[in-house]
Amino acid sequence: MAVIEVKNLRKNYGSIEAVKGISFSVNQGEIFGLIGPNGAGKTTTLRVLSTLLSITSGTVKIMDYDLQQQSNEIRKIISYLPEDAGAYKNLTGKRYLEFIANFFEKNNLKDMIDRGEEIADLGERIYDKVDTYSKGMMRKLLVGRALMTFPKLAILDEPTSGLDVNNSQEIRKLVKSIARQGTTILLSSHNMLEVEFLCNRIALISQGVIVESGTPKDLMNKHNAKNIEEVFTRVVR
């Protein structure tokens, strides 16, 4: 079943065409990666799918909900982690998770918050104010926030941004396990190793257009490349 159906999506900022008619679909439980150089249109695409930006033309359906008509319904089933997101600095990590959970779960609120705490893995520091967190701790809290809600679709923009090697590995394992449980993941990353490790399928986007897509293995075979980084440098010039 297709969780995401994007058809001929265009997004303009005034006279600038950020996304020029891209189409793709992502199935349930799939990890789909959008990769491309800076300014290619990855974040714009993720922001559109997260209901943050309006569409210039085209159609987007998430779990059969139309993005333009049913954005309120879509917000109930997605979770978006922006690349440079922050949290409310005057709240403790725990209070922040409680604040977010209150928008979703009324019956099993405690379970959701416990899950957020477990994913964030901040120990006793979860009771400290966010203001005192390092960049890595903040990112872990935000990943916990994004995945604790059992979203049907998790949209992750650079999920391991700011994390060290060990923490990055933990997050990648977590993303894989979440996908195995049925959550569909749409992510963007500049880390080609991460993309190769995580994604079932990837789309290479350049200047607002998808220039290549497929499984990492198929793409490496097609371009006679040893890894996705080589595919990337050959396709996106």
Partner: protein, 426 residues
């Protein structure tokens, strides 16, 4: 290009943003229009006061008094019949006059018998602002001139009167008509004195509440953007209206608490003023009744909502906390202008254009309300509350619209609006 030139060029480019210039341009436009309006007030002050008199005595001494009045003021009404008082007052009301002097028939007889002669003054007071009372102060001074001249006449003609009467041959018996109230025994300067104590206190407090609550909302929006929490908030299953309403209501609760604190302080302040020197304000009906206090509280509260809605709108323009500080400037300005205007002039005595300008600023209404309520001008207060409520509803609708567009995140509106403008240009 030198290093210094390079840095200057970069700094100028960074500082030349709409958020830097728009508030200053607005201030320049406002001061320009305010300057024109104040110019017309100055012209008004320089004009000779318009008065009337009834000389029922028709004596040598009363002639001295009326001559002085004729020399220093424009006399719009004069008579010798004491029964013409009401006609005189009506005439002066039509002619924008400010005082009717009555010299009773026993004026000179009393003075010659060493009893100070009574001069009755019926004041027609139009405003209680600092500038409003200047003209009446000029007319009050005429009484001193009359005293000096009658003293001179008594002494130079060797009339046998006691020293006290020779030095102070007249006394005033005043009644002031102000906004449909008859206030016996009180002069306009005394009323202006009482009112000015409010004029300087109430608007300052209201201005402070507006600025404090308003800057909280602008900063809250700016911090959402600076701390990168806004994007997350906008993707949560919560309606945009709820986000806007949540921010406004929470700030309004804080604002309401501030308003309650203000009202408690104000009640104590008013009760301490009930006996202002020898004037019993309660007896004159110059204290606020509970319903009037309620109206005042309502006026303060709806104005707070208007201020917070305006600040929410300005907050959507803020890129970060620093730019939020700049954006509080128009709010401060909108609070300062009515504060000064209500201090100097009464709403009723302003030129029509300035009345419209003052009424249009929503923050003016709670500043004008206490004085208006004291003199039972409910129309101004209630129409002000209705206006501010409509103003707030429109602003909230605009804010919700902005929240539904890309404007919050990208700084531009959505394509529908742009294409609409494009179609209109074509």
């Amino acid at each position: 290009m030198s290093a210094l030139g390079n840095i200057i060029k970069k700094e100028v480019r960074e500082l030349m943003t709409p958020t830097t210039f728009v508030p200053i341009i607005l201030i320049a436009i406002m001061f320009g229009s305010l300057g024109n309006a104040i110019g017309s007030i100055e012209e008004e002050i320089e004009e000779r006061p318009v008065i009337g008199y009834i000389d029922a005595d028709n004596s040598n001494l009363s002639f001295i008094a009326t001559s002085i009045l004729n020399n220093f003021a424009d006399v719009a009404f004069n008579s010798t019949d004491i029964a013409d008082i009401n006609t005189g007052i009506d005439e002066l009301k039509n002619e924008e006059g400010i005082a009717l002097y009555i010299i009773p028939s026993n004026f000179s007889e009393n003075i010659y018998n060493s009893i100070p002669g009574e001069i009755k003054i019926y004041w027609i007071m139009r405003g209680a602002g600092i500038l409003d009372s200047i003209t009446s102060a000029v007319v009050e001074e005429l009484i001193n001139i009359i005293n000096v001249n009658i003293s001179y006449e008594l002494i130079s003609t060797n009339v046998t009167v006691n020293a006290t009467t020779a030095l102070t041959p007249t006394y005033r018996n005043e009644t002031t008509y102000f906004k449909n109230k008859e206030l016996p025994g009180v002069s306009p300067s005394e009323i202006a004195g009482i009112m000015s104590s409010q004029s300087s206190f109430i608007p300052i407090i209201i201005m402070m509440i507006i600025i404090m609550a308003g800057s909280t909302v602008i900063s809250s929006m700016a911090l959402e953007k600076e701390n990168k929490t806004l994007e997350t908030l906008l993707t949560l299953p919560v309606k945009r209206v709820s986000i806007v309403a949540g921010k406004i209501i929470s700030s309004a609760i804080i604002g309401l608490m501030l308003a309650v604190i203000y009202m408690i302080g104000f009640s104590y302040y008013m009760s301490s003023l009930e006996f202002s020197g020898s004037i019993n304000l309660a007896q004159l009906g110059l204290v606020l009744e509970p319903t009037e206090l309620l109206l005042l509280g309502l006026s303060v509260f709806v104005t707070l909502i208007a201020a917070l809605s305006l600040c929410m709108l300005l907050g959507t323009l803020a890129k970060n906390y620093k730019s939020a500080q700049t954006l509080t400037f128009p709010v401060t300005l909108f609070a300062l202008i009515p504060m000064f205007m209500t201090m100097f002039k009464d709403f009723d005595t302003l030129p029509l254009a300035l009345k419209g300008f003052l009424f249009g600023i929503p923050f003016s209404h709670p500043m004008m309300a206490p004085r208006a309520l004291l003199f039972d001008d409910y129309l101004l207060v209630i129409s002000g509350i209705i206006y501010v409520v409509i103003f707030s509803i429109i602003l909230i609708a605009i804010v919700v619209w902005v929240f539904k567009t890309d404007r919050l995140l990208t700084g531009s509106t959505n394509k529908k609006l742009k294409s609409l403008f494009k179609r209109k240009r074509r």
